[in-house]
Symmetry: C2
Subunit: 158 residues, 2 copies
DNA sequence: GGTGAAAGGTCATTAAG
DNA sequence: CTTAATGACCTTTCACC
């Protein structure tokens, strides 16, 4: 069910140098090429590795303001229609339903603080949203990362 | 500064089928191979594309509970030492400083609700954290995505 | 292990800003 | 005049059987 230490080393290696081929990986890990290929296939098949998509930085596109918006949803109607409309806003990067009566949380980006106001206006205009309160990310102390978790998951006894 | 429509199409294509080679991309986009290569290099050089790291799904590793923790930080000492210690916890996936007096926000994952308690205990044990309040993600209505943003950024006049 | 197929680099030519 | 795209050629390297 879980992954072992070789899987973790493989993921760590690919994370550091993603353009590496299977052959190179086998050399660096000191295992046979077939082993690496089998491990990779297994990880992808299990869904542990979703893929190798390009990692886009919104800040480099000019969207250097990040905010988290907590929304209160009208009880009647449910969350899904709201989420659907939020998904139509490109600046909305993710949406979660969270604990609390009819609350949702979403991550948004904008080109500036003034632009953030425009995005928030788009959000509060969505049918079903009663109230929205926003916090702005002033600094990203730890950028999104999963590697430590992968390593932790590969340890036999946590 | 911004990206153009060809860049957006390239990113979209690579996102859909990340294992595509440069040659295949050039065929599908109807441009020369050198063009694709140049565009890719430029996108990476500019930082728009950070890389092609493996996209790991924490849920597939058994960490299927996601939470957002808002922390109140002791004013004396600052945020950085706290962030450093939080970074030492594998279950902490990202950390932000947010608006509000001495507040930080982090995303955490855990193996279960009970396990989440253990993670939160690790967090509140960090020196400098006064209080922590957690919300649990009940459902991810819109998983993290940047593609719509990329397309929007490639449009000439928004 | 061998083989067909890419990647990655360079270059001259052409087009467009 | 600068920047970008194109098609061609080449060598190394990898993926697949």
């Amino acid at each position: 069910m879980a992954i072992d230490e070789l899987d973790a080393r493989l993921i760590t290696l690919l994370d550091a140098e993603p353009r590496l081929g299977v052959l190179e990986c086998s050399r660096r890990l000191g295992v046979a090429r077939g082993t690496v290929q089998a491990r990779l296939d297994r990880l992808v098949a299990r869904g542990v590795v979703r893929g190798f998509g390009p990692d886009v930085d919104p800040a480099a596109l000019g969207y250097d303001v990040t905010g988290f918006v907590t929304m209160q949803i009208k009880q009647v109607g449910g969350h899904d229609p709201v989420a659907e409309r939020l998904a139509g806003i490109p600046e909305v990067l993710e949406v979660h339903t969270i604990t609390g009566s009819g609350d949702m949380l979403c991550r948004v980006v904008a080109r500036s603080n003034a632009d953030l106001q425009r995005v928030i206006d788009l959000i509060v205009a969505v049918e079903g949203i009663v109230r929205a309160s926003t916090v702005i990310s002033l600094a990203t102390q730890v950028p999104y990362r999963v590697l430590p978790l992968v390593v932790a998951a590969s340890q036999p006894n946590p």
